[in-house]
């Protein structure tokens, strides 16, 4: 019959205090197996203390073709950065 195992994206928290970060992907029959495989594939040398697995088809990603309309509007809004505002040199702690 041969039905292929779906693809899962693996996120690992390397230590408490840090966020989960995308480490890569792997194939597994279900979420539990994805977790077990992720442990063997991505944390053989204590790289993690927590793992998230998400089936790849459930991730919605932005399209790089739309990067212009999505991200360019932020580029000319320099007034959102502190360096936009001039202050006299003698002002401290600001």
């Amino acid at each position: 019959m041969e039905k292929n195992w779906p693809l899962w994206e693996i996120f690992v928290r390397s230590k408490n205090g840090l966020e989960h970060r995308h480490f890569g992907s792997l194939h597994a029959a279900d979420a539990e197996m994805a977790l077990e495989n992720a442990r063997d594939v991505y944390t053989r040398r204590s790289e993690g203390v927590s793992i998230w697995v998400v089936e790849s088809k459930n991730i919605t990603a932005s399209n790089p073709e739309n990067n212009g309309e999505l991200f360019e509007p932020a580029q000319d809004k320099i007034y959102r950065h502190p360096t936009f505002y001039t202050l006299p040199d003698e002002i401290k702690h600001m």
């Binding site: 041969e2 195992w5 890569g24 063997d40 594939v41 790089p64």
Partner: protein
């Protein structure tokens, strides 16, 4: 617009896309999976990354041969961990390759049908324990030289996989060298065993770095795309310069009568490589090509029922969960 005009704009558009793309690579920007890329870039990457993944997977076989016969528990756990790493490296690389729009199944199919290649070095037999030392020292040594520049390659997922691979690879080489050192410091017979392994693995390791530059069909384009950052001949010279002094420390002799330090160039000169042998092995006539493929394809086939069972179990569990949620 007429059809001809439309076609024209289409061509112009893809030309400018290609120009933007080449510019991004020239600026050392990374290319990510959903970015536009020329079809040839995609295909070349699928070929190289999958070839690399296949090499990791087939590369487990020659060493697997010695896991049950390792001379001590220390050696056994190290070899086991190394072979497990190779499985892991294959998996990192297969997933990097899949981001280019090819399925894992297609990749396996290419390996199993012989359409895709893997590193020719794994078609040589591992006849003594010293081969575990020589493979770690020389084959992993050559692999590291090949792989370190790839951490900087232009395709993001490949570069990230390579960074992880390189981090793990250095233990492989050190455990191999340690095996060689124990043998070289052992009885005369053990030292002979180490020498014999060096004799058999030296030339195939040099060949592993690929055909010489003038014969390499992919080098030029791959350099341009930063899929390759140094030519095969540069990498080979680096490997020789690095490895010969290590053989001296072991007190064994590199099997090349023409090998000589060249004061002027600051490199070792070395003898002619038997490229006929290389091409024979690449074309499938090496000592173990058939054995390796039979082992690989056999394992895949024998595992079919396990993969199927896992899938139907997962599906049944899912239905069960959905039903019990409905019941509540």
């Amino acid at each position: 617009m007429s059809e001809a005009q439309l076609k024209n704009t289409g061509a112009e558009r893809s030309r400018s896309l290609e120009e933007i793309f080449e510019q991004r690579i020239a600026n050392d920007e990374k290319i990510e999976p959903k970015d536009w890329m020329p079809e040839k870039y995609r295909k070349t990457h699928i070929r190289q990354i999958s070839q690399h993944a296949h090499s990791e997977i087939v590369g487990m076989l020659p060493e697997g041969n010695w896991i049950t016969r390792a001379p001590s528990l220390r050696r056994k756990v190290a070899l086991l961990a190394k072979v497990q790493d190779e499985a892991g490296h294959g998996l990192y690389l297969y997933s990097a390759c899949e981001t280019l729009g090819i399925s894992r199944d297609e990749l396996y199919e290419q390996l199993h049908s012989g359409k895709a290649k893997y590193s020719s070095i794994f078609n040589y037999p591992t006849v003594t324990w010293a081969d575990m030392g020589a493979i770690g020292w020389l084959v992993d040594g050559a692999a590291i030289i090949n792989q370190v520049p790839l951490c900087n390659t232009s395709y993001g997922p490949y570069a990230r996989a390579m960074i992880r691979v390189c981090k793990e690879e250095s233990f492989h080489q050190r455990q191999g060298f340690e095996i060689m050192m124990s043998l070289c410091n052992g009885t005369e017979e053990q030292k002979q065993m180490a020498q014999d392994a060096l004799n058999r693995w030296w030339w195939p390791s040099l060949m592993m770095l690929g055909p010489t530059d003038s014969e390499s069909v992919h080098t030029e384009q791959s350099m341009k795309w930063k899929l390759k950052r140094k030519t095969n001949d540069e990498l080979r010279q680096q490997f020789i310069d690095q490895t010969v002094p290590q053989a001296d420390i072991l007190g064994i002799t590199v099997p090349d009568p023409d090998l000589k330090w060249n004061e002027k160039t600051g490199h070792y000169d070395f003898g002619e490589i038997d490229w006929d042998e290389f091409w024979q092995v690449v074309k499938g006539h090496g000592p173990c090509n058939k054995e390796r493929m039979n082992a690989r394809v056999g394992a895949w086939k024998r595992g079919t029922w396990v993969r199927d069972a896992a899938m139907s179990y997962a599906e049944k569990q899912k239905i069960k969960k959905e039903n019990s949620a409905k019941a509540v």
